[in-house]
């Protein structure tokens, strides 16, 4: 574990990714404390204030401090996306590994069905789910988890298949090891690494999808300061106060970049052969 961390820090992506992650973590945990104002405090006199003191990122159409809304909004945007990705990834990984292990007709059937489900674009699937389940952050998160699962299942399956072909798995079968032992102790440690890398990169995608849903009015609902929602609300006021839109957009981008970098860094760090 610590070994992986050390190796992560040796790559430039790892360093950058971890640095960004620490910032995001800080903001999620202490955003409320760090924020100079309450995100809901409206100040009609200070509407559309440009960035500068006292509003470092400016104020929005209701006079709320953009910086504060950003800091508090992190908690609405990021943790749910991360949780959604990892639960979707876990579900997908189980299905993928099972399919690879079963092989034969079952594998074909499961794979074809996963491919079919993936014919529905992610956003569309999320939209349909939300339209059925109703608007709101939790439903959006569930929708994301469900749309992440099939692609993670695919990735896991192909990694598991590659591992299954390795001679050390054959050696275990030749020894007469039980199926459970083979999957858990021989395959899983080698499957876990690439899957973790993929899942980390998907978090970036989930954050963007979550923000998109909120942007379309189907995710977080006002007066939450979720970043996608902030962009959506600010659309009408682009001409007067572009900073209301730019700030949350950059925050979303930064988060996505962070997880992409982490994923890239982890790819090298978790590879056992690269110790040179």
């Amino acid at each position: 574990m610590t070994d992986a961390l050390h190796r992560l820090l040796r790559t430039p992506q790892g360093v950058l990714g971890l640095a960004l992650l620490s910032v995001l973590l800080l903001v999620c945990l202490f955003g409320g404390v760090l924020a100079p104002y309450s995100p809901e405090t409206m100040d009609f006199a200070g509407r559309f204030a440009a960035p500068g003191a006292p509003h470092w990122f400016g104020a929005d159409q209701l006079g709320r401090d953009v910086l504060s809304r950003l800091l508090v909004g992190a908690r609405s945007t990021i943790p749910l996306a991360v949780a959604a990705t990892f639960s979707g990834a876990a579900a997908g990984a189980c299905i993928g590994t099972l399919s690879a292990y079963l092989g034969g007709r079952w594998d074909e059937a499961i794979t074809r069905t996963i491919d079919a489900v993936m014919a529905v674009p992610h956003l569309l699937l999320a939209l349909i789910l939300v339209s059925t389940l109703g608007k709101g952050s939790l439903n959006a998160a569930l929708a994301i988890a469900i749309s992440v699962a099939p692609s993670m299942a695919r990735v896991t399956r192909s990694v598991a298949l590659a591992v299954r072909q390795q001679d050390y798995v054959k050696a275990a079968i030749a020894r007469g090891e039980g199926g459970g032992w083979i999957v858990l102790r021989e395959m899983l440690p080698n499957v876990a690494a690439p899957v973790i890398v993929e899942a980390t990169i998907r978090v970036a995608f989930a954050v963007m999808l979550f923000a998109t849903l909120s942007f379309l009015g189907l995710g977080a609902q006002p007066p939450a300061s979720e970043w996608g929602l902030m962009v959506s609300e600010a659309r009408r006021f682009m001409h007067q106060a572009p900073w209301i839109i730019v700030a949350p957009s950059l925050a979303i981008a930064a988060t996505a970049v962070c997880f992409n970098l982490l994923g890239d860094g982890l790819r090298d760090a978790l590879n056992p052969r690269d110790e040179r």
């Binding site: 074809r112 069905t113 491919d115 079919a116 489900v117 993936m118 014919a119 529905v120 674009p121 992610h122 956003l123 569309l124 939209l127 349909i128 789910l129 939300v130 339209s131 059925t132 109703g134 970036a204 963007m208 999808l209 923000a211 998109t212 942007f215 379309l216 009015g217 189907l218 996608g228 962009v231 959506s232 659309r235 682009m238 001409h239 572009p242 839109i245 730019v246 957009s249 979303i252 981008a253 996505a256 970049v257 992409n260």
Partner: protein
């Protein structure tokens, strides 16, 4: 030949699963679809009317069967919002989306492929690093951010192009193009970020291959090595990459149509969702997924025709 048959069967299976998925999620999953559609405060009579109209009293498989058989005969249901048949409106909208998507794909290919190849050729140098940074950013921006930023800068600030709206090409070609530039640009930029990275990594693999080394050691000048040997092998996987990207494209189109107010199929679906127009939601989703599945199949067929190795599977 047998391969083609198998591929077609796969598409049919895909469409079947998609139809079950869409129908199941929209009509069967909610405990009471009528309440989902009309809201909690609807009158009992209104609820009963909707149930009657949509056949919600029947068992699930029967509802599905009614819907599917109507669909296969070309009847996509009647919109609960407009009381007009859903089919024609959806397909017209699809046509507009295809035009938007098609232009974006073409523009994307024109930019991404040369960019990816250039980055691979100049690997590690300034051009490559710059291109990588830009594509990293492109991949990390949701479509609505890119679209909005483009809107702010080009339409609002510089007033170069109209912000929103759609003009059919048959009406006024110039205006039509002017209205399409920003949406096409938005979709293309995101795709360029993805595709150029993949083209880059494919090209790097090719450049490091044994046969390229052999070509160089035959004394062939670099230009010929590039044009005759490298390009063919680097471009072949591009077909697959593009097919994968149609999925991204369709997802992105929904948002872009919403922001730029283009009456394509994405917009129709959003309107259907916000107005809880169930038949429209179902039709729109199925049509969109079917488009993706068919596009993928066409790409597969094109790939097999071009790459001779696979033919002998």
């Amino acid at each position: 030949m047998a391969w083609l048959l198998r591929r077609l069967l796969t598409v049919l299976y895909t469409l079947l699963v998609v139809s079950i998925l869409v129908f199941g999620l929209t009509q069967i999953l909610p405990a009471d679809a009528a309440v989902t559609l009309l809201g909690e405060n609807a009158t009992p009579e209104a609820l009963a009317a909707v149930r009657q109209r949509l056949g919600l009293g029947d068992p699930a498989w029967l509802q599905y069967w009614h819907w599917l058989s109507a669909l296969l005969q070309g009847d996509f249901g009647t919109s609960m919002r407009t009381d007009q048949p859903v089919g024609p409106a959806m397909f017209t909208a699809l046509g507009r989306s295809l035009m938007l998507g098609g232009c974006s794909l073409v523009l994307m290919l024109l930019i991404a492929v040369p960019l990816g190849i250039l980055a691979a050729l100049r690997r590690g140098k300034a051009t490559d690093v710059a291109a990588s940074l830009v594509s990293y950013l492109g991949v990390s921006l949701p479509e609505f951010v890119t679209a909005t930023l483009l809107l702010i800068v080009i339409a609002d600030h510089f007033q170069l192009l109209p912000a929103t709206g759609y003009v059919a090409p048959s009406e006024n070609l110039v205006e039509s193009i002017r209205h399409l530039i920003l949406p096409v640009l938005t979709v293309s930029l995101i795709l360029v970020a993805h595709v150029s990275r993949m083209v880059r990594s494919e090209t790097i693999d090719v450049l490091n291959s044994d046969y390229i080394r052999a070509a160089r050691l035959k004394g062939l000048p670099p230009r010929i090595v590039l044009l005759r040997h490298v390009l063919r092998n680097a471009l072949l996987p591009t077909i697959t990459i593009v097919a994968l990207d149609v999925g991204y494209l369709l997802g992105g189109i929904i948002v872009v149509e919403e922001i730029f107010a283009i009456p394509g199929i994405g917009r129709q679906i959003i309107v259907a969702i916000t107005t809880r127009d169930l038949p429209s939601i179902q039709a729109g989703a199925v049509i969109m997924a079917a488009t993706y599945a068919i596009a993928n199949t066409l790409a597969d067929i094109a790939y097999v025709m071009v790459d001779r190795r696979i033919r002998y599977d």
